[in-house]
Amino acid sequence: MEIRRRADSFVGEICAIPGGEGVRLCIQCGTCTASCPHADKMEHTPSQLIAMARAGMRAEVLSSNAMWYCLSCYLCTVRCPRGIKQTDLMHALECLAVRQGLSHGRTLTPAMYRSFNDFVYSLGSLPEFGFMTWFHLLTNPLRAFRMIPVALSLFRHGRLSIRARRLTPEGTNQLRAILDKAESLGGVP
């Protein structure tokens, strides 16, 4: 009984996020796994992840690297015979993992997403150079060093702006008010 309750609550949490409800529909045919460009790099394939979620393996699912390797290419989504929005489901698992502070294998994807979002929240736009530099310095300064040739070639071709595009001051304040409100509503759901 206890195992069953645990499973129910985890599936319930996933279903409460838009797109996550598909977790109940899966027939384990493996089409998503066969379609995924990164399935062989994941600790658990997309279909395994669904099976584990339905078995209530919350910690194992949310600490997997699988959803962080999702490319959001939507190939699984258009092929799923049950109409599951697999990509949205992966995002739902990422949201839950972040919310519950679970570790994410060895992938740097969550840190990259976090850096990206911090810039967008602060500026309303994404200055690519600042964001990339910030991310590399935060996670692995050595890699920032290795990125110099790519950065230089972009710079030489006029593709690396140091200056960020800014919204009007009213626009910036308005956007912050909206995002702050969203945060106070506690995310989805």
């Binding site: 390797y69 490319l71 929005k85 990509t87 040739p149 790519v150 071709h157 509503l185 989805v188």
Partner: protein, 290 residues
């Protein structure tokens, strides 16, 4: 004249894909399309926001959509990521009432409301379906004369469904290339992923995907490749030398925005198209048309 509201996205406005923005405007002018940039727009949030902060990501899009709704025109973007994210917000707001209520409440904190009436379009869709191949062909000044072009769609312009083209074997870009006099090559991987933003945290994985795409294009005889997305272009172009280094390959395939290729066929000059912003030089294959 056709009128649209224009959402360039961060890359095509002041980011690494400025040339995409320039060539989009230049080609639109020739085709009698008026693109008016959305006032004070913000970043769509792309995959990073929708992956870890769902509600906030819908609010980012909804602010843009609310502004666009006031203008009452279709919202056109040349970026596949902006396209998929803005569209996703539209469809989710219709499908999930609680989400809509929360987004409405957040928007109200900024004095805005959104009623879900904006149609979000990708530039490829507009050129293929609103303008049409014949009208494009009529503006061609320099016939591309059988130039072999790999038509690369990437993921998010044709997926998820419903889409304006087939989700796995799309044709619109092929037909567009043909209308310019170019020869769209066979390209089995034309709607496979370039690695997207995972090029940043998981470079090794993304480089492998890029290698497969470049290999597929070359083995089918492509002289250049066109993309419809700023991130695809950056990954295939700026990271081509990294692919060569990692896999000991010698790819040297120019990667163009599709609007740049259209511009070349329309007889526009480099000042309009920004061809020199490409890392892999395109002059070699385009010299005879310039």
């Amino acid at each position: 004249m056709k009128y649209y509201t224009y959402f360039p996205g961060c890359s095509s406005s002041e980011g690494g894909a400025k040339a995409y923005g320039w060539s989009t405007q230049a080609v639109s002018k020739v085709l009698d399309i008026e693109l008016t940039e959305l006032d004070d727009w913000n970043c769509c949030g792309s995959t990073p926001y929708s992956s870890i902060e769902e509600l906030a990501s819908f609010c980012l899009s909804a602010r843009n959509l609310a502004f666009a709704e006031k203008r009452g025109l279709d919202l056109v973007t040349p970026c596949s990521s902006c396209y998929v994210i803005l569209n996703r917000t539209n469809s989710h707001l219709k499908q999930y009432p609680q989400l809509k209520a929360d987004v409405d409440e957040a928007l109200a904190a900024g004095g805005l409301e959104y009623h879900g009436t904006v149609r979000v379009r990708h530039l490829l869709d507009v050129l293929a379906n609103d303008i049409g191949y014949e009208a494009i062909e009529a503006k061609v000044k320099r016939h591309l004369d059988g130039l072999k072009v790999a038509p690369y769609y990437g993921c998010q312009v044709v997926r998820p469904k419903p889409s304006f083209d087939h989700p796995e074997f799309p044709q619109s870009l092929d037909k567009l290339i043909a209308s310019l006099g170019g020869e769209p090559t066979l390209f089995p991987l034309k709607s496979r992923c370039c690695g997207g933003s995972l090029i940043i945290p998981e470079e090794a994985l993304a480089l492998d995907l890029i290698r497969k795409l470049l290999g597929s294009a070359l083995s089918n005889g492509a002289e250049c490749l066109v993309t419809v997305c700023p991130l695809c272009q950056t990954n295939l172009d700026a990271y081509q030398s990294r692919v060569n280094k990692r896999f000991r390959t010698d790819f040297n395939l120019p990667i163009l925005f599709f609007t740049q290729l259209i511009g070349v066929a329309f007889g526009l000059g480099d000042e309009d198209l920004g061809l020199k912003t490409g890392i892999v030089p395109a002059e070699r294959v385009l010299a005879k048309y310039l």
